[in-house]
Symmetry: C2
Amino acid sequence: MSAPAAYDDLRNRLADICDLGGIGQLLFWDQQTKMPVAGANSRAEQTGTLSKLSHQLFVSDEIGGLLDELRGYEESLPEESDEASLIRVARHDWNKARQVPPELTAEMRRSSSLALRAWAEARPKSDYQALKPHLEQNLALRRRYVECFEPADEPYDILLDDYERGMKTAEVRAVFERLKEGLIELLHAVEPADTSPLERVFPQEGQERIAMHVLDRFGFDPAAWRIDPTAHPFMSSPGHKDIRLTTHYNESGLHSLFATMHEFGHGIYEYGIDAGLARTPLGTGASMGLHESQSRMWENLVGRSRPFWSRFYPELRQTFPGMLDDVDEEAFFRAVNAVKPSLIRVDADEVTYSLHIILRFELEQELLAGTLSLDELPEAWNARMKEYIGIDVPNDADGVLQDMHWASGHLGYFPTYALGNVISVQIWNAALEAIPEIPQQVGEGEFAPLREWLTENLYRHGRKFTPVEMLDRITGGPIDPEPYLAYLRDKHLAAATA
Amino acid sequence: MSAPAAYDDLRNRLADICDLGGIGQLLFWDQQTKMPVAGANSRAEQTGTLSKLSHQLFVSDEIGGLLDELRGYEESLPEESDEASLIRVARHDWNKARQVPPELTAEMRRSSSLALRAWAEARPKSDYQALKPHLEQNLALRRRYVECFEPADEPYDILLDDYERGMKTAEVRAVFERLKEGLIELLHAVEPADTSPLERVFPQEGQERIAMHVLDRFGFDPAAWRIDPTAHPFMSSPGHKDIRLTTHYNESGLHSLFATMHEFGHGIYEYGIDAGLARTPLGTGASMGLHESQSRMWENLVGRSRPFWSRFYPELRQTFPGMLDDVDEEAFFRAVNAVKPSLIRVDADEVTYSLHIILRFELEQELLAGTLSLDELPEAWNARMKEYIGIDVPNDADGVLQDMHWASGHLGYFPTYALGNVISVQIWNAALEAIPEIPQQVGEGEFAPLREWLTENLYRHGRKFTPVEMLDRITGGPIDPEPYLAYLRDKHLAAATA
């Protein structure tokens, strides 16, 4: 059955909108890496205009009409086909976008922009009170946003769905409850590791060299990829086969190397999406959590593994001559895997990271439900930091003010980070089952089999399936925290007693 | 009188369109400097989508209605006011854009894209026959384009107006006739200069350093400007106070330094435009010719002048230690000003450059009128190269195939280069009359007075005035080739007999 004209029409309209999306990524990438600072005002206008036009094109009656007209065609096709998936996902997005009045969208954008500016001023001064009215406004707008939709099992479901299509808060809560318990138990059991091997000055030139070397082995293709320095690392894909990593060089330690491997994971996901899905709403990762599972996999399951360092530690030593003579491979491995309660989420280790997230997940649900007030937030934050991670928060700058997410209005985003951790090990185990030689291959600097398996089983499908469907296809089951906990126990308890 | 609501509406609509224009500049800049090559397909789609949407937004009935509604308001204002100028220029652009059926615009874009690809293949093979059918198609489309408009004095006027608003072919022809005569006369009179001082290998690192040093003196503000390497240098301004120069490093000679000064001239023009004109159709240079007058002014009237080299030659020598010990300042000055008939326009000196242009200007008028056929074009090209510049063209690659302009369909563009040369000296003389100390200041590396005078008298006005109006405001008269000829005679005959 050849596609009806309405399908081509829909596809062309969505292609235009995807083009604007790719352009938006370029505007952001350029602003963070290349744009002269004085260009910021023009760039803000351009970004706003682009979002506005893209939204207008998408929520049009014409697209709604085509989606209606194509119901029969969709039902005549296998659910997994590109065509049925495109119609299904576009309808989901269109329904959501149509529920929200343009005035509310505009108000959320304005409020977010003002709050981010206030946050940037308030954080260095540790002045929570200065940010609070903005958070109040963001929260009120998010409640109005939730009210735009048919009631879900719980209001937070609506927010979560923006990042994890089809996922329920109750599922995440169940996973996080078990995770929290297991992580706190583990945190009490691990021995502190000696982190002095990393507390040295590693010249930037060497950091660039070793990162490029690792990327080259991972599968960074210079015809399609680039890497640039920035303040806060991210991955951007302004077009199909146009993958841009960013990293941040700090000579105290080797953070940039792990940040680079992390962003590579995001990049290889976008790189592996089928060419046939380009310029459609299916041409990106399945969800934020699945995306994060890949960044965490390449950063941690590959990049902090024993086989990885057995292959790359000699080269790291050569890259920084003389600097690591007193550190053997085992000591280095333990240093890059050290577990240590700390204040700042983005600096956290594999064990405590998800606890930082669970804390935020709990607090934002309570804020949304109104069972916690913004007045009580800093105290609740500090109490839970003590309870879960065991440390005292000395000031709000390093506490409740550390992240920009709430200032930007993105409630519902935080859980995707910990979901990524959990899912990364589920997928890793499935890969190991299919190719048991992966650890040896990693030890030989050979990443193609892993990369190709991930491409075949995950990357190429883009956004055709929901995250839960995608995971079920790969692992045959739902999200499950046990493999992640087992992985951590195995690595960290073994490392501590090695 | 406060602006009516219709004016705000018009301004907001035009602001969106200008945002898309700035974004288009970024897409181009990125493609030429940063984009991984594999991103080319996505980028082509994005560029096409952006042009299409921008065109659709602009030619709307709503904008036409607002322009009608605002006639009374426009007439109530001084012609020079920002508001009246905005309405006047937007009406001119809208009327032109509305005359052209979208199908023709699309066909011209498609034909241009195919022809450019054919040109890129045909040029290295010197295969004019392979390009000819594409030129035939471009020419036919340009004739259809001309027919979309009310008949002008001559068909070429319509094309010229796209680059030099309001200018007539007859005016340009009169200027070029005198210019041709004067330049050929001068070409016969100049003595060949010794160019061996430039026929050396100048390491790229030194070229970058001296270019940055000169830019820094010129007024390159790192908060608003950047410079990157590319294959064919250009200037791009993706937003207000976001100025991006590009240059090309070739270690055989110092071309990059002159290319950089050239692009600085384009950049400082955009940089100097009033902030109040940003996001309006007035927020760019008055015309291609006036833009070129500034690139040529900073490249030639400043960058190839005696005072400039008396200031910078010692630093150039220090930048390339030992390399220029055998070359004194006078010899170097003569080398950078050497006049020598050559095949390639972009490598031509100040005397022959405009002859290359006049040849193209004549040929494209004859092609459009049908008095010259595409079969006869290479022969006509070669004959005129011999007649005007005195050299034999050995092959079409270095002859009729050397430029991409005709493949891209841009008939009417070439004359703006020579107009730029002519106008550059007229404006320079006006600046000298106002500030006679400019040459001394240049000799002291002090460029602020010149830059500020140009900003006050030219740059800040953006596109408010037509090029002829703009020139009249600055010089009190029309385009006049005599000052340019006098400048060349003064420099080149004096240099030859120094």
